[in-house]
Symmetry: C2
C-alpha cells in the first residue's frame, strides 16, 4: 500500500487507534499543540507511538488559540467540569472550530508534501456538543479540502459514525496498547476519572472487554 | 448596522477596499503573517487602515507555514517569477490551502468573540491557479464553517465573482487611498512592477481611472 496519508494525532485513544489501524498508509503524523491543559501528556504519547511505528511526527504549536480563543479546555484544570459528556456543562470544553483549523492546516501541509489524504479520528461518540465532529461537518469540510487543493487532497474520517467503544474494539483486535494514550482534560499525572473524557475512556474499555491499564485518581 | 463581522485583512488593494466598503459592520480585522516576502509591508498598511477607521486589529503569526509549506511566496524575493498572473510560472506562488487555513482560524476566532460573519476579499481575478479563491471553494468552505460552528458563523466573500478592476472601481467610488496598500510579491520598499500582482495592480487602477499613486521600480 502507498504511504500517501497524513494523520492528525492527538495522543488520545481514538487517534492512536487510527494510527495503528492505518499505519501502512501513513507517511506523516501531526500533533497540534493549542495550549490545552492536557497537551504535554498527549504529545508525549503521540511521540512514543510514532517512534514505535517509525512514522515521522511533527508538533505544530497554535499559540493564537490559547491567546485568543475561549474554552474551559484552555483555562486550567480547575475549569474542567466533572460528569458525563452528555451533561450540559461539558459544552464549556468546546474549542471553537478546532477540528476545522486542524484539518485546514493538515490539508495545506499534505499538499506541500505531495500527500493525497488527511485522516482524523473524530467519532460518533463525540456528541452533539462538538459540532465540528459531526458527519455534516466532515462532509462539507471534505468538499472544501478537495476544492481548495485543486482536488489533490481528500479527507478521511473512518470513525465518524461509530462509537468510542467500537474504536476500543478495533484497538483490542489489532493489539493497541492503551497505556500509551492519554485522555484526561485536567491534564494531571494520573487521569482524574471524573471528567467527560475520563468517563468515556473507562466505558469504552469496559465495553470492549479490555483490562483498563489506566491509573485513575478516583 | 450591527458590528458583527470579522475581516481577513492582508493590507493589499482588495481586502483594504472591503474593509472600507463594510466598515460599519466590522468589529475586528485579522492579518495573518505566514512569512511571505511582503508580510511586513502589508501588515503595516493593514494597521494604518484599521487605525484610521478605529477598528480593532490583530496580527496572528502562522510560523508553521514558513517552516513547513512549499511556495515561492515564502522563499525570498529572487524566487518570485515575473510576468502576468495568467502565466504558467505564477503557480509557484500558490501557498497550499492558504485561504482555507485563514478562514478556519477566522471562524474559530469569530465564534470565540460572538461574531457571526467572517469576510474575505478573494475575487474573480484570482485566476484558476489559486483553487482556494474560486466560488466552488468558497461555497463549500461556507458550508463547513456553518456546520462546524453549529450555525453560529457564516462566510461572506462579496468580491468572489468580480475582477480586481471592479474592486478598484468600488474603491474609487468610496474614496479608498490606495497609497495605503501594498501588493508586490517581492516585498521591496518600492513595488517591483513586474510580478503578477504588480501587473494586476497597475491594470486595475488604470481600468478604474484612478491616478496610480504607487512608486514602481520599473
Amino acid at each position: 500500500m502507498n504511504t500517501t496519508s497524513l494523520i492528525i494525532l492527538s495522543g488520545g485513544m481514538d487517534s492512536v487507534t487510527l494510527l495503528h489501524d492505518k499505519k501502512e498508509e501513513i507517511a506523516l503524523a501531526v500533533t497540534f499543540d493549542y495550549g490545552s491543559n492536557h497537551a504535554a501528556r498527549e504529545i508525549e504519547m503521540a511521540r512514543r507511538n510514532c517512534k514505535m511505528l517509525g512514522i515521522e511526527h511533527l508538533v505544530i504549536p497554535l499559540k493564537f488559540m490559547s491567546d485568543y480563543f475561549k474554552s474551559s479546555l484552555l483555562d486550567g484544570a480547575d475549569s474542567i467540569p466533572e460528569g458525563h459528556y452528555n451533561s450540559e456543562n461539558m459544552s464549556s470544553t468546546v474549542v471553537p472550530f478546532r477540528n476545522g483549523i486542524m484539518l485546514a492546516i493538515a490539508a495545506g501541509l499534505a499538499e506541500s508534501r505531495g500527500l493525497s489524504r488527511i485522516m482524523i479520528a473524530n467519532h460518533g461518540g463525540d456528541h452533539a456538543i462538538y459540532p465540528d465532529c459531526r458527519k455534516e461537518f466532515i462532509d462539507s469540510m471534505n468538499a472544501a479540502v478537495k476544492e481548495g487543493s485543486g482536488h489533490k487532497v481528500e479527507l478521511i474520517a473512518p470513525y465518524t459514525e461509530i462509537t468510542k467503544s467500537d474504536i476500543a474494539c478495533i484497538g483490542k483486535k489489532i493489539g493497541v496498547d492503551y497505556s500509551l494514550t492519554y485522555s484526561c482534560y485536567k491534564g494531571g499525572e494520573k487521569h482524574c476519572g471524573k471528567c467527560g473524557t475520563c468517563i468515556e475512556r473507562k466505558e469504552a474499555m469496559h465495553d470492549a472487554g479490555i483490562a483498563d491499564p489506566t491509573i485513575y485518581e478516583s
